[in-house]
C-alpha cells in the first residue's frame, strides 16, 4: 500500500505514514536507499558513471572461434584433442560420409521426380556428428531441418530415412509430412516441423520437465542463424535462462538463410553475441571442426546438467548446398565462393586428414567405403521406392488421441465417394490395410 499512497498524496503524507515505522528500520532503509555507492534499481545495480558514453558494438572484437584442428586436420593444441578411440573417430567419419552419399542420391531422386522435395546437409556434417557424439543417446533433440546427421549417428537407418522421404507404408510419420521431416521416439528426436524456431521454446519446456523429473538428461536444440531472428528464439533464450533449464542451444551459422546472407540477418556479433545478454554461458566454435564441436558440446552438457542452466553454442560453418531442391543458389552467390569452401574447408576433409595422419585410414579403405556406402544407399533407396503408400484413410487418423464423431463422419463420406469414383483416385499406389 505504501508506494501507492506516496504517489497519490505527495511528500506531505510520507511523514505521516512514516510515523508508524520504527526509527531503526527507517535509517536502515535510508542507508539502503543511499545513492552514493551503487545504483539500487531492482532491474540492475551495476556502477555509476558520469561519462556520457554510448557502447559502440563495432569497436569490440567478436567472440573468438574455438577450434582444435587446422584445415589440414592437424591438432593445434594437443591438450584439446579429445583423444577419441580409432573406432569412434572412424564411426564419425563413416557417418558423415554416409550422410553425404545419402544426400547426393536423394537430391538426385528429387530431380528425377521420385520424391517431392529434399534438403542436403553438405558442409555441415561436422556440426551434426560432433555434437550428437557428445550427447547421451537419451537426451531429447529438437531440430530445425538440417540435422539429419544427428539421427544417423543415433542409428536411424537408411531405410527409415528413405521411407520418410517416400512417405511410404513404413514411414514412421505415416506419410503426413514432406521429406526430411524426420522423427523418432526410440532415438529421442522430436519430429521436425516446418515453421522455423518453434522448436526453441519447446526445447526449453522439455528441459524444464526433465529437470523436474531428475532424469539426468538434457535437451539439445538446433537452429540456424536465420531462425535466430524469429521471436520464438528470443523467447526461448530468455525463458531458458530465467527458468534455469538444462538445454543446449546449438546454432548452425552457415552463412545463409535461403538467399539471405548473414550480414542481412543481423548487425551484431552473430548469435553468440546475444548469449551473455540473456545471462547465458556462451561459446562460438568452428563448426567444420568435428573435435571442436564435440568438445564444446560435451562441456556444455556437463555444465547444463551440473549447474542446471542453459548453454549457447554458435557453430560457424558454410552451407555448401542449395537451401533445398526448390532453390538454385547460383542466383544469389558465386560458384567460386561455394567452390572455395568445398575445396578448402569441409568437416569431412579435415577429419579424413586427421585419420590419415593418425594412420587410421588408407586410400584403399576410402575407395572401398565409398563404393560400399553407395551400394547400401542405393539398395535402401530401391526398397523404399517399391513400397506402397499408407492407406489413404490415414488422412483422418491422429488428429486427436481418439477420433471424434465429426471426423469419423467425414471419413465415411469420403469412403463412399472414393468407392463411387474409384477410377479417379490413385488407389493402386496406396495400401489397402
Amino acid at each position: 500500500m505504501l508506494p501507492i499512497r506516496l504517489a497519490c498524496y505527495g511528500i506531505r503524507s510520507v511523514a505521516v505514514s512514516c510515523k508508524r515505522i520504527n526509527i531503526g528500520s527507517l535509517s536502515q532503509v535510508a542507508r539502503e536507499f543511499s545513492s552514493d555507492e551503487r545504483p539500487q534499481f531492482p532491474g540492475s545495480r551495476s556502477q555509476w558513471t558520469e561519462k556520457l558514453e554510448f557502447i559502440r558494438p563495432d569497436l569490440y572484437d567478436g567472440i573468438p572461434v574455438y577450434r582444435v584442428m587446422d584445415r589440414k586436420g592437424k591438432v593445434i593444441d594437443p591438450s584439446q584433442d579429445p583423444q577419441l578411440s580409432q573406432e569412434t573417430v572412424i564411426k564419425m567419419y563413416k557417418c558423415m560420409t554416409q550422410l553425404n552419399t545419402m544426400d547426393r542420391i536423394l537430391y538426385e531422386s528429387q530431380r528425377q521426380g521420385r520424391i517431392s522435395f529434399y534438403m542436403t546437409n553438405y558442409g555441415e556434417e561436422g556440426t551434426h556428428i560432433g555434437s550428437a557424439a557428445a550427447l547421451d543417446p537419451k537426451d531429447l533433440i529438437f531440430g530445425q531441418y538440417r540435422e539429419a546427421g544427428t539421427l544417423m549417428w543415433r542409428g536411424f537407418t537408411l531405410d527409415q530415412f528413405m521411407n520418410q522421404c517416400y512417405g511410404n507404408v513404413d514411414d514412421g510419420g505415416k506419410g503426413k509430412q514432406m521429406p526430411v521431416h524426420y522423427g523418432s521416439k526410440e532415438l529421442n528426436f522430436v519430429t521436425i516441423s516446418s515453421p522455423l524456431g518453434t522448436q526453441m521454446p519447446q526445447a526449453v519446456g522439455a528441459a524444464y520437465a526433465y529437470k523436474r523429473s531428475q532424469n539426468g538428461l538434457c535437451v539439445m536444440c538446433y537452429f540456424g542463424e536465420g531462425t535466430s531472428s524469429e521471436g520464438d528464439a528470443h523467447a526461448a533464450l530468455n525463458f531458458s535462462a530465467t527458468l534455469d533449464c538444462p538445454v543446449i542451444f546449438f546454432c548452425r551459422n552457415n552463412g545463409y538463410a535461403i538467399s539471405t546472407p548473414s550480414k542481412e540477418q543481423y548487425r551484431g556479433d552473430g548469435i553468440a553475441g546475444r548469449g551473455p545478454a540473456y545471462g547465458m554461458l556462451t561459446i562460438r566454435v568452428d563448426g567444420n571442426d568435428v573435435f571442436a564441436v564435440y568438445n564444446a558440446t560435451l562441456k556444455a552438457r556437463q555444465v547444463a546438467l551440473s549447474e542446471m542452466r542453459p548453454v549457447l553454442i554458435e557453430a560457424m560453418t558454410y552451407r555448401i548446398g542449395h537451401h533445398s531442391t526448390s532453390d538454385d543458389s547460383t542466383a544469389y552467390r558465386s560458384v567460386d565462393e561455394v567452390r572455395y569452401w568445398d575445396e578448402r574447408d569441409t568437416p569431412i576433409a579435415r577429419l579424413r586428414h586427421y585419420l590419415v595422419q593418425k594412420g587410421w585410414w588408407q586410400d584403399s579403405q576410402e575407395k572401398e567405403w565409398k563404393e560400399d556406402c553407395k551400394r547400401q544407399v542405393m539398395t535402401a533407396f530401391a526398397r523404399a521406392e517399391k513400397k506402397l503408400k499408407p492407406n489413404w484413410k490415414e488422412v483422418f487418423t491422429d488428429v486427436y488421441h481418439e477420433m471424434p464423431s465429426h471426423i469419423r463422419e467425414q471419413m465415411k463420406q469420403m469412403e463412399e465417394h472414393v468407392q463411387k469414383y474409384a477410377e479417379h483416385y490413385p488407389l493402386k499406389n496406396f495400401s489397402k490395410d
Binding site: S193, P195, T198, Q202, Y208, A236, Y400, H406
Partner: protein, 366 residues
Amino acid sequence: MALRNFIKRNLFLNNKCPLRISQRLSHFTFVPDTVSASEGETQRMNLFQAINNSLDIALTQDPTAVIFGEDVAFGGVFRCTVGLQEKHGKSRVFNTPLCEQGIAGFGIGAATAGATAIAEIQFADYILPAFDQICNEAAKYRYRSGGIYDCGSLTIRAPCSAVGHGAVYHSQSPEAFFAHCPGLKVVVPRGPIKAKGLLLSCIRDKNPCLFFEPKILYRSAVEQVPVKEYTMPLSKADILVEGDDITLVGWGTQVHVLREVCQLAKDQLNVSCELIDLVTILPWDKETIAQSVKKTGRLLIAHEAPLTSGFGAEIAASIQHECFLNLEAPIERVTGFDTPFPHMFEPFYMPDKWRCLEAVKKLVNY
C-alpha cells in the same frame, strides 16, 4: 482524503458523480447451477475460487503438473492461482517472462517431455502471439509425427469476453479462431460448478485444450460447488431449459443472457424456448443441437464475438444442412458487430437480451 474531496467538489457538477464504473448496469443476471445432494458436501465458491480448487486438485494428484504464465506466482491478476505456489512449491507454480509465444511453446515442450503443463495467458486478447505455437504446433503435433509425439497434456487457460469496461483489448472472445484448427479442444464454462469439472477434464484430456474463462463471471458467478474431485464431459452440450418453439444456443456469459430471454419470451410472447449451453466449441456437440432444432424448427445463436465467421456461422451452416426440412425460419445469429470491441459503447455492442428477444420475435413470426 483531501484530494478525493477536491476531485468530488470541483470536477462534478452539483456534487453528482457520473455513474461509477462499478455501478454500470450489468447486461445479464447470473443464474447459479445447483447440484443434487448425492454430490456430497458443497462449498460456496465463485468462478475464480472454483478454478483455483480445480488447479489445486490437479497439482495434488499429478506430481508432474505445473502451472506457469505471467504473474501466476503471487496468485494471478484474477486470483485464480492464489495459494498454489505456497502449497505446491516454486518449481511447480512459477512466473515466466512476459511472452505469450514463449509460454505456449514452453508448455508444448513440457507436455511433450511428460509433464502436465497448465499455462495461463493473462487475457485472451493476448493469445494471438501464441497462435503459431497453438495452431501450427500444438494442434498438429500428434498428426504430423504419425502419433509418436504429442502434447496432449497441455492446457492453456485465458480470461475472455466482456467485463463492462474492458474495451478493445480486455474483452475479446477468440474461440472462433481456434475452432478452425483441427487437433485442439476449446471449452467455455458458464459458472463455477461447470468450470471446476471441465477444467479438470481438460487437464486430463489427452489433447491440447484451450479453456476460456469469462472474466466477468470470476466474482459475480457464485455457486455451491461440490468439494470433491469431479470431471464434466467435454463435447457434450447442456440443455438448461426445455422448450418447444425455438432453440437458443450460447456459451459462457451469454448463457445467462439467454436465460432471461427465455423468461421474457415466455412472459411477453408466450413462446417456449429451449436453452442450450454448447460448453465445448471444438469438437462441438452437433447432435444435441440438431435434435433440438428438429423439435423446435427454429434456431437462434448468440455470441459476443463478431458476426462474420464467428462460431455461430459454423453452427448455422451445419444445422441448416442437418435440419433443412425441419426449419420454420432462417437461422438467426445475434452477435457482436463486425467491429473491434469498443469502450464507451459496450452497451450498444453486446448481443443483449433486447436484441435477442427481438430476434426471437422475428423468428416465431416468420
